[in-house]
Symmetry: C2
DNA sequence: TTAAATGCAAACTCTTTGCAAGGAG
DNA sequence: CTCCTTGCAAAGAGTTTGCATTTAA
């Protein structure tokens, strides 16, 4: 049975207020501003559980660390190889291109574009 | 000036003979069959250099470790969440969907589908 | 009351790095 | 003869886990 702890709420608030694509470390740094005694393990545990439940999304591992996403709906990402930031790309339909693979049970689509963003190019 | 060492050649041979999407560990295990004294650090260094040069590709981090790819041409991947294996998906054109983002300098497209493969579903 | 969640520290895995020795060009 | 590359071992980073304690329900 999942419990509504102060820590859990603070972590979800943090990921929403960042509205970024933060790592566990980013979330931790944000949370300790208001809850200075929280443990980093609690941040990891809650982020993993929230991602599992679909309460938050995961972007993937960039620069060595998993990045989480406050948006739950399917969308794609552009990752700038220079400033290391993300830009959201709205989801579009790929099904027509995947009909030859209709034997596969596709549950999730992860599309990441890499290159240089407008400011960095 | 890049040198043609025995180790470098053995590592490239290994990734081609595996023809999989092996991790550095997988490549190491393959290489020590014929070169038992090679160091794992050498495997990591050569894989990183080869990926940098475009001699090999990278698939991304799955199950905690980077997976490399003997194929250099752009293509996509399906990753089975049960058997943890990859299936190659031929590249298809996404440009039409990305015209609203033509300010971005897109250098690489990484598309990973996740779900269950034919055998696992 | 009681089982789930926390905090802490240690452990774990993958990867990188410093340095002396080896080897390709 | 150079200096790039290797092997080794240690370090590093991100993440997970064991366990006693706390706390939500």
């Amino acid at each position: 049975m999942k419990r509504n702890t102060i820590q859990r709420q603070a972590i979800l608030d943090a990921i929403n207020s960042l509205a970024n694509h933060p790592t566990a470390e980013d979330v931790y740094v944000q949370v300790i501003k208001t809850h200075p005694t929280i443990s980093k393990a609690t941040v990891y545990r809650n982020l993993a559980a929230a991602a599992e439940n679909g309460e938050i999304g995961t972007v993937g591992i960039f620069d060595g660390a998993m990045h989480f996403d406050h948006k739950k709906e399917e969308h794609f990402h552009f990752f700038c190889d220079k400033c290391r930031g993300f830009i959201d790309i709205p989801s579009f339909d790929l099904k027509a291109n995947l009909t030859p693979f209709n034997k596969l049970d596709i549950k999730k689509i992860e599309l990441t574009l890499r290159g240089l963003c407008e400011d960095c190019k």
